[in-house]
């Protein structure tokens, strides 16, 4: 059985697989805490379409919303990307680095 957390990773990868959603994250990276109206501008898409994309990003925990007065502000949450990095990327790059170090040791021993 797959560990439960892999579902979280699935949602992150799926959310990131779409260029519009990456664009929305980039806009929040430039300036965080934006309203739907702000995020809509610059996208040739209906308000409903943008809301759907934001929903996917929220489900993946890549966007967190906060109410401030009557406004709903969207914040970029980088933690899931960090988790993917720490659990996946690091794991593989470490192995590559270790392989190179091992190779170096081996060659130097032979020399």
């Amino acid at each position: 059985m797959l560990p439960a957390m892999s579902h979280d990773d699935d949602r992150v990868f799926k959310a990131l697989a779409d260029p519009t959603r990456r664009f929305l994250l980039d806009r929040l990276y430039e300036r965080d805490g934006r309203t739907l109206t702000e995020l809509e501008s610059g996208l040739e898409m209906t308000r409903f379409g943008v809301m759907k994309h934001l929903r996917v990003l929220e489900d993946a925990n890549l966007v967190v919303t906060k109410r401030q007065g009557r406004e709903k502000l969207h914040f970029l949450n980088p933690v899931p990307i960090r988790l993917v990095h720490d659990r996946w990327i690091d794991k593989y790059t470490e192995r590559q680095v270790k392989a190179l170090v091992d190779l170096k040791d081996e060659l130097e021993e032979e020399a």
């Binding site: 805490g33 906060k66 949450n77 960090r82 720490d86």
Partner: protein, 180 residues
């Protein structure tokens, strides 16, 4: 416009398979705070109520990292005081980076932990850091100084906390802090 003031706020959220109490303890108990992220022992006045003082002491790793950069690292890394405490669900306190002169000069910021039970034994932890008037600290906390060996900020801390509470051990304890 009201949204302009919010730009300086950073929001982080992580889901952890642990009880709210375990997460509360990891934030407020010195035997836990030393085991993830930047490490260092947190000292809270015994009764967590408004006005209670808080100090985060520098860890050996921080001192070593500072020494490598040719700097003397003071004993107190961060300080502040409790604004609101509702264990194990909500903790609001002021927070100042005391170990760096320039960041210390930016003054106190406001930090809110919200801990809410979610489904299936998972707890949702939301960290909201209001960083008005603290641009240098904001860069550090968003992980902008990681390449310099200053740790990866909140995402790094929360990823590590999740690892600690779910697996019993943090990631490489020195990972992220300067190793020369």
């Amino acid at each position: 416009m009201s949204t302009d003031t919010m730009v300086t706020t950073q929001v982080y959220r992580v889901y952890i398979k642990a009880t709210p109490q375990a997460i509360w303890d990891a934030i407020t108990k010195p035997e836990w705070t030393d085991r993830y992220g930047y490490g260092g022992t947190a000292e809270w006045e015994p009764e967590l109520k408004p006005g209670a003082k808080y100090r985060g002491l520098t860890s050996d790793a921080m001192k070593a990292a500072g020494a490598q950069m040719g700097r003397t690292v003071p004993d107190v890394a961060v300080d502040g005081e409790v604004i609101e405490a509702d264990p194990p669900n909500r903790l609001v306190h002021t927070w100042r980076m005391a170990m760096d002169e320039e960041m210390a000069a930016e003054g106190y910021t406001r930090l809110t932990y919200e801990i809410a039970e979610s489904k299936g034994g998972v707890t949702k932890l939301t960290v909201t850091h209001e960083l008005e008037g603290a641009p240098k600290l904001a860069v550090l906390l968003s992980g902008g100084l990681e390449e310099m060996g200053a740790g990866g900020g909140w995402s790094w801390v929360l990823s590590d906390l999740k690892s600690l509470l779910e697996t019993g051990s943090a990631m490489d304890p020195d990972d992220g802090l300067n190793q020369g």
